[in-house]
């Protein structure tokens, strides 16, 4: 297991806190709490050694959807596609 912390510039306000997903095989759980100034992301993942992949996936996501707040990701081996899908679910309603 590995814990990673990231911060990305973000200015779009979030509509409210959200919870999506489950810490099950190939999936992840996200807790999103609205905040100011940046997207602060903490990732706890069951798979070690994918720091660069996480940075790339998250950087790309927050470049497209700069929603400010804290994002707690509890990951159980989700692929980048699933991570992006869950993040989109977490900010649903915040992007309009």
């Amino acid at each position: 297991m590995q814990t990673l912390n990231f911060e990305f510039p973000a200015d779009r306000p979030a509509a409210g806190r959200t919870h999506v997903g489950v810490v099950g095989s190939g999936d992840l759980e996200i807790l999103m709490t609205p905040g100011d100034g940046a997207a602060r992301v903490r990732v706890r993942t069951s798979v070690d050694g994918f720091d660069i992949v996480w940075r790339t996936v998250l950087e790309r996501f927050f470049a497209r959807h700069p929603v400010a707040g804290s994002f707690e990701l509890n990951d159980f081996g989700a692929t980048p596609g699933v991570v992006t899908l869950r993040l989109r679910q977490a900010i649903e309603g915040s992007t309009g």
Partner: protein, 292 residues
Amino acid sequence: MTLTESWAAMLSRTSFIELDARERAGALLDDGTARELCGPFDRIESPWLEPQGVVPQSDDGVVVVKGRLGGQPAVVVGIEQAFQGGGIGEVPGVKIATALSLAAQDNREGTPTAAVLLLETGGVRLQEANLGLATVAEVCAAVLELRALQPVVGVVAGALGCFGGMTIAAGLCTKLIMTEEGRLGLNGPEVIESEAGVAEFDASDHALVWSIDGGRQRVRTGLADALVLDDVSALRSAVIDAVRGGVPDEHRSQRLRELRACLESVDPGRVVEASEVAGGWAKAVPRKGGAG
């Protein structure tokens, strides 16, 4: 209603099994009454998993939802099967036991509150073995406390099933509802196979596993009460019926003489086919009014 007769119901159903624990709890309760207690943002996660290199979940795999069932106050406790195989550790056990105890307290204070347990679990979480065992005892004590006042309804819908220590809690429930897909057994098939060998029990033989642990067999042999189609509205009506049935004079777990007669009717000297069990037990204990 057999499954061949109910093909139309099969086609028009909304699957309960495909829902996660939170959605299951919400689907059972009356529309607009569900309110989650001790939810993900309370962050009461297991303190024992991270030090052992296991990613925790914010609700530690147990969802507690208060609401109404057919108008009556009720609490639904759902175990999330996708997280750690629905394993019961310290936090899950305490959440379940506390929810049941608080319901019992509400009853004593004049608000009749029933409970529903959605049991999808492999049993005690191995990373928290001793604490897990201790909390299963607390859960059982809390079921006993509440079932004297209001029904505690167990649901084993599947796909995981209910195994290990939590089957004791299932056995203590006022009523136990299963689907064809659900399984119930103290030792899971893989555990029996690894302990006693593949000749004793072949866990890869699904027909064999379901012929013993499956919902249909468990209802036939009187160890569960109702076999229901995997459908949200069918399960909801079955749960509401079970709650309206009230507290029985004697629970299944108190009918020791009957259970002993069932066991004594089995000859351990020969292999008993799963299909013979229901008939043999029915002879050993003539049913009064059809518990199955």
